[in-house]
């Protein structure tokens, strides 16, 4: 059978991926440049029996998806920088209460209301540390529509697997770009469903007692079991506790469930990396410029490759270290003041060989921008 092809925006590719993954509930508040995600889902979700709610603000949207997730639904919300800031408190709650949910942040210029219609990648560290306290998070990204689709499916899968919020960190340039998407057939990509408890009705259900593999089976809230959910440190029944052992065990569990699985969560692509002397590390729409540049320089015989990160958090430190070990220089290409670069510097043997090629003016970084810096590093001038 012929594949179904669409010519759509990146935001719409995210919607297609979410629907493929089985999203059943969306609550949100529209904000440029993410609005198309809400707009499309407001039409598509009711068509298939799902629920779409436009809430009064971003805080309420985040809280609504947490509630819906607890009742057993696959949920998401979408926003941009200012809204992402507002959602942080509830994201922390979802981390603490271990509630699967997907938050798309289509980045625009910041801080504050910043630059609504222009591109930025300035929320990278906010995705990691936007909410307070020790916690872990998963953040994914993509640079083309096919990958936006599959990484969105992955986001839902990882949210369910690790019972955690997963951030989709897209950007204005890729969110609004129109290009081809070939829809995968049903069954082509794996889908992780909700892991539900086998504890029967009337039997003591302990929502925060991990199985041997560390996963926590859930019970649809309001159905068979009564249990407590809180943002306070809690025991295996979900009731607040300040017992030092309970507190440290829970925090350790929240950190370890992600840290111990960095290898299986890490997603990346290599472009022309074979024997690369100069390694460009990039993600999202910036990666397209890096790939364009590397492709052109390779044709001229220069050994330049691109390591494209599709998972930003947990930070793939070992991957970066390994892939950069033989590089003469590493150039981090991103549209912020070096938010990823500092982590790359910390990961490699020689931080002195890490450089930043960036733009912070709301314009998409160009292959010429990167080429200019490369020539300086190579001692060839611009």
């Amino acid at each position: 059978m012929e594949k179904s092809i669409k010519f759509i925006q990146g935001n719409e590719a995210c919607v297609e991926g979410a629907l493929y993954a089985g999203v059943e509930f969306f609550a949100g508040y529209p904000i440029t440049p993410s609005t198309e995600i809400a707009e499309c889902l407001s039409q598509r979700l009711p068509e298939r029996g799902g629920k779409f709610i436009q809430m009064e603000d971003e805080i309420a949207s985040m809280c609504a998806i947490i509630g819906a997730s607890l009742t057993g639904k696959k949920v998401m919300t979408a926003t941009s920088g200012p809204g992402f800031s507002l959602k942080q408190e509830a994201i922390g709650y979802a981390c603490m209460a271990e509630i699967p949910c997907v938050i798309a942040n289509v980045q625009r210029g910041g801080p504050s209301t910043g630059n609504p219609t222009h591109v930025s990648q300035g929320d990278l560290n906010q995705a990691r540390w936007g909410t307070h306290g020790d916690h872990n998070i998963i953040a994914l990204t993509a640079s083309n529509h096919q990958d936006i689709f599959s990484i969105t499916v992955d986001a839902f899968n990882l949210a369910e697997t690790y019972r955690t919020p997963v951030i989709l960190l897209f950007d204005e340039a890729i969110g609004h770009l129109r290009e081809k998407l070939v829809l995968p057939d049903e069954g082509e990509l794996p889908i992780v469903g909700r892991l539900r408890t086998s504890v029967g009705k009337g039997v003591d259900y302990r929502p925060y007692l991990p199985r041997e593999d560390g996963r926590l089976p859930m019970s649809d809230f309001g159905a068979e079991h009564r249990y407590n959910v809180t943002g306070l440190f809690h025991d295996m029944w979900g009731f607040p506790s300040n017992n030092p052992q309970v507190v440290s065990d829970l925090l350790r569990h929240l950190m370890d469930k992600i840290d111990n699985n960095v290898h299986s969560i890490t997603r990346y692509k290599e472009h022309y990396m074979d024997g690369a002397e100069y390694v460009l590390i990039s993600y999202g729409s910036s990666a397209r410029s890096a790939i364009h540049m590397a492709k052109n320089r390779r044709m001229k015989g220069e050994k330049i490759g691109v390591l494209e990160l599709q998972s930003l958090w947990p930070f793939p430190q070992h991957l970066i270290r390994e892939k950069c070990s033989k590089a003469k220089a590493v150039i981090v290409v991103e549209m912020n003041s070096g938010q990823l670069m500092y982590h790359v510097k910390a990961a490699v043997d020689d931080p002195g060989k890490v450089f930043l090629s960036n733009r912070i003016d709301g314009k998409l970084i160009t292959p010429a921008d990167i080429k200019g810096l490369l020539r300086i590093i190579q001692g060839r001038g611009v």
Partner: protein
């Protein structure tokens, strides 16, 4: 083959819609790759608008256009701003009602009375953008016009398909006749 096109004009002229129709036709009905992006301000109408399209047999990485093969300018402001970026030897298409070509650029400059013809024959400025698209394909056969017709049929409400097709043909005729005239010289 790689064609880089820039559509420029003012918000509300349908610049972005025309760009989408063209890029979508390339992908959906000609099996090509295409990207379409746009830059715009926060205003819904009146702001300067630009849309970049790349159509290619190959993968497209960087989606913006620095030197278009074909540049369409639908306001004086757009022509003044972008006129100089056209690739040397490329084509600049302007509408005589909106653009006064002052300084010439190193490209084939084609001025057509598209708006005037649309108003005379249809009387509705809403299809001006589709007529411009017709003119573009009449001048540079980047795609089959049937592919654009199919996209129009996919996207436009049924009652308006015929009007859009007519607008397209008006532009197409102006463009192809102009080309015949240039070639015949």
């Amino acid at each position: 083959m790689r064609t880089r096109i820039v559509f420029s004009g003012s918000g509300g002229q349908g610049v972005i819609t025309a760009a989408i129709l063209l890029a979508e036709a390339a992908v959906m009905y000609e099996g090509l790759n295409a990207t379409q992006s746009q830059s715009y301000g926060a205003a819904a109408r009146g702001g300067a608008t630009r849309s970049d399209i790349i159509i290619s047999d190959f993968e497209i990485d960087f989606p913006l256009v620095s030197q278009p093969n074909i540049l369409v300018c639908l306001t004086q402001h757009a022509y003044n701003t972008y006129g100089a970026i056209v690739r040397p030897g490329g084509t600049v298409i302007t509408d005589t009602r909106f653009v006064d070509i002052g300084k010439k650029v190193d490209a084939r400059q084609i001025e057509l009375p598209i708006y005037e013809n649309v108003m005379e024959q249809i009387g509705k400025p809403i299809v001006f953008n589709v007529a411009v698209l017709g003119a573009l394909l009449g001048i540079e056969p980047v795609l089959q016009k049937e592919s654009v017709f199919k996209v129009i049929a996919d996207r436009v409400p049924e009652d308006f398909i015929e009007m859009n097709q007519k607008a397209f043909e008006i532009g197409y005729k102006l463009g192809s006749e102009k080309m015949a005239e240039i070639m015949g010289r």
